[in-house]
């Protein structure tokens, strides 16, 4: 087996054993869902319903006229009780549609169509994906239809099954449990973008997924399974492209410029269902886990389910001395309260005890241990960057290429002086962007 990877990066304990063998199951439907109106990167949506309206599961409730936008859908059947700003997992508030579930109504989605993607034109497939509100479900949240309606020639489709962040197993389980849908979805996307080859990159810590998928594609030339070394951040787009194709990804280049398009495996399956059954993105698989969680698992969660409901259903009683993270442990967001809802791009809800989490408490001067420099996957100098950012030396930080930083978190994870390097970087980046804009 040939295993590929990129240079640099870190070996971080993966803590996946809590949920990697847990089949995907459904989480109970909450009484109230809070569906943020815009859950994608791009133009904001407008509501299509008003307070008091009855809605059904899968009904479109928010959309925009713009191309780069993805509609949102009701995730329960019930009544719209409010359209107002509500907490958002990244902090602050965002305009959301609050729906109270009606127990007398059917809470399951009923497919309206059943069609074979092979019978549909490219345009019809892309339209169906847009209508279903599919966005990058690995965290990027970029509208998928915009991604696959490229005019540039693209030779390869790269499916991202690396799932390199610790704890997360939702993509892993989907690959193991739904390999046929994944492959069918891949074929469909290849057709849309005109790709000749599809590479499915999977880290070798998921041998069952590699085995099952390899078995399924063993007779075909156009889909290849690429085992990847277990290394963080293997699933970052540029690093995945580099590992699989050997191409460099210069700053500013979009992946289509390099002849490839990268999609997350979960997104591919969701896109397939959107086309075949007209099933919109109103639920997703979320890994709910942590070393002390009584019922960890890979749960299908309705979009808009409050994090508090997810945490309670996983059996967690006491949150004292805990950190609740939405997303992965390296890049996700810690929650100050649990009112924010789960949205389309959330891969996990992690409940982590104090002993294992990093906190922004006390930190020391850089001792130049070189660990961050050795492991930074973008080959930056986080030591210099952290000193420049700490002292607000904006142009110095810029000269150390801070804008190339992908905020993977390795440097702050590894730093023996406990320096909150990523926090520094996030603070400085917007200022540099402003500066760069004013220079133009």
């Amino acid at each position: 087996m040939e295993v590929r990877t990129f240079l640099g990066g870190a070996h971080i304990p993966h803590y996946k054993s809590f949920t990697e063998d847990k089949p995907i199951t459904r989480l109970s439907v909450p009484k109230v869902v809070i569906v943020p109106l815009s859950q994608h990167l791009g133009a904001p949506n407008e509501p299509l319903v008003k307070v008091g309206d009855k809605v059904e599961v899968g009904q479109k409730i928010g959309d925009s006229q713009e191309h780069i936008a993805a509609p949102v859908h009701a995730s329960v059947s019930g009544t719209v009780v409010a359209i107002e700003p509500r907490p958002w997992y990244e902090g602050g508030e965002t305009m959301s549609i609050v729906i109270e579930a009606d127990e007398s109504m059917n809470q399951d989605f009923v497919p309206k169509v059943e069609q074979n993607p092979a019978d549909l034109s490219k345009e019809e497939i892309i339209a169906a994906i847009r209508e279903a509100g599919i966005v990058g479900m690995g965290g990027a949240a970029f509208p998928t239809h915009a991604n696959i309606s490229q005019k540039k020639a693209v030779d390869s489709l790269l499916l991202n099954g690396a799932e390199c962040e610790p704890f997360l197993t939702c993509d892993h389980r989907q690959m193991v449990e739904r390999p046929d849908d994944l492959i069918a979805g891949a074929e469909m996307m290849m057709r849309c973008i005109g790709a000749k080859t599809c590479y499915i990159g999977i880290e070798v810590n998921k041998p069952d997924a590699i085995e099952i998928l390899s078995e399924k594609v063993k007779d075909r030339e156009d889909i290849k399974i690429v085992p990847l070394a277990v290394k963080y951040p293997q699933g970052n787009k540029a690093h995945l492209i580099n590992a699989i194709t050997g191409r460099n990804v210069p700053r500013g280049a979009r992946s289509a410029d390099l002849g490839c398009i990268v999609r997350n495996v979960g997104t591919t399956i969701a896109g397939y269902e959107a086309v075949v059954y007209g099933r919109p993105c109103y639920e997703r698989v979320v890994t709910v886990t942590g070393p002390t969680v009584p019922k960890p698992g890979n749960y299908i969660v309705r979009i808009g389910t409050p994090v508090s409901h997810v945490v309670r259903e996983a059996g967690v009683e006491n949150l004292e001395e805990m950190k609740v993270v939405v997303g992965g442990p390296m890049t996700g967001m810690a929650q100050a309260n649990l009112e924010a809802p789960v949205v389309k791009s959330n891969t996990g809800v992690l409940i982590l005890p104090r002993e294992m989490v990093r906190e922004d408490v006390e930190y020391f001067d850089c001792v130049r241990c070189a660990k961050c420099v050795e492991q930074c996957p973008v080959f930056l100098y986080p030591n210099e960057i952290s000193i420049a950012c700490e002292n607000d030396m904006i142009s110095k930080a810029e000269s150390w290429d801070v804008m190339d930083c992908i905020e993977c978190g390795i440097c702050a994870y590894i730093c023996p002086s406990g320096r909150p390097i990523v926090k520094f970087i996030k603070r400085v980046k917007p200022e540099i962007k402003k500066l760069q804009r004013s220079r133009r």
Partner: protein, 330 residues
């Protein structure tokens, strides 16, 4: 459940590695225990006394300077104690205690704290302290007689009368067998009593990933090759004169060595060249210390020329052939 008071909130990443500066420093001290024990075995009370004097001075100086400079105490990071121990090991056991103490004071007070504290010093503090004493030696004659009243009588140990192996080597005297010299031969500084013990400590540090193998290997490799070319016995050169301590514990000091691998190679090779130059050309026995300090001064220059390009920097060939990833195993 509705009580979310106890939640911990902070920025990403949410995991941390289990390495901290104080743990690393403790490990380095641990790695020096074997050679310290060998020294204590040979030099008994002399060694114990000198080591204690340096450790106490280190702690006192650190606390004093931090206090004077209005900074938080950092004794708990163990770096001061490590420096004290390293200074002690650079002296021969019979050195007057106040010389060790003075060197430690200079190391921590001047070379470290006055430079801004751990992380900001340009020179390896322990070596800076040790070498300062050599340079200051002419001033000691009056001092020595003045302070002799305070010198402590520690009795006699017969091993201490042996000559320094490196001096013997340079004067062409009859040498003990290689393995004896390597493993177990008192003479010179305390750290020279057993190159083997130092090597074991160094390998432990590499195993624990506190240091990389690059610097020690490039120093030792360069010394080996150059002395071989110069017609010397390279094995004797490797195990004598504090070379092991310098290569594994001094040149690899996080703060004062280049940060990336290319820089580390340049640094190591240059130190090796300087050591051989000092040893063969100048007959200096403190060549290792001088060589490392000189190269410490060049670290900023080395960093400048070895800076690597960002992963996202545009490269000349941006689209190589497909199917050319980086295989790491077959």
């Amino acid at each position: 459940m509705d009580n979310t008071q106890g939640l911990i909130v902070s920025s990403a990443p949410h995991l941390k590695s289990d390495m901290t500066t104080s743990k690393a420093m403790k490990d380095v001290i641990l790695a020096l225990v074997p050679v310290t024990l060998v020294a204590v075995y040979f030099f008994q009370t002399y060694a114990l006394f000198l080591v204690t004097a340096c450790l106490v001075t280190a702690a006192v100086t650190e606390v004093l300077f931090r206090k004077l400079m209005n900074k938080k105490a950092t004794l708990h990071d163990y770096s001061a104690l490590l420096t004290g121990l390293l200074v002690a090991l650079c002296f021969s056991a019979t050195t007057e205690w106040w010389k060790g103490a003075l060197a430690t004071f200079i190391a921590i007070g001047v070379a470290k704290e006055l430079m801004g504290g751990l992380g900001w010093n340009r020179f390896n503090p322990a070596l800076f302290g040790r070498i300062s004493l050599i340079l200051l030696a002419p001033w000691f004659v009056p001092l020595n007689s003045g302070l002799s009243a305070w010198s402590v009588n520690l009795g006699t140990v017969d091993t201490i009368t042996q000559g320094t192996p490196l001096a013997m080597l340079q004067q062409g005297m009859a040498m003990p067998g290689f393995f004896q010299l390597f493993a177990w031969y008192p003479g010179g500084a305390m750290a020279e009593a057993s190159a083997l013990a130092v090597l074991l400590g160094g390998l432990y540090l590499i195993y624990k990933q506190h240091i990389r193998w690059i610097i020690p290997l490039s120093i030792l490799g360069t010394v080996f090759v150059l002395t071989l070319v110069a017609g010397q016995n390279p094995f004797y050169q490797l195990v004598s004169g504090g070379l092991m301590l310098g290569a594994f514990f001094m040149a690899t000091d996080w703060v004062t060595c280049p940060i990336n691998d290319r820089g580390k190679i340049i640094f190591g090779v240059a130190i090796g060249v300087l050591i051989v130059f000092f040893r063969l050309g100048l007959a200096a026995t403190e060549g290792v210390g001088f060589a490392i300090l000189i190269m410490n001064a060049f670290v900023p220059a080395i960093e400048r020329v070895t800076r690597r390009a960002s992963f996202s920097a545009p490269r000349a060939v941006s689209i190589p052939l497909p199917d050319k990833g980086t295989p790491v195993s077959k």
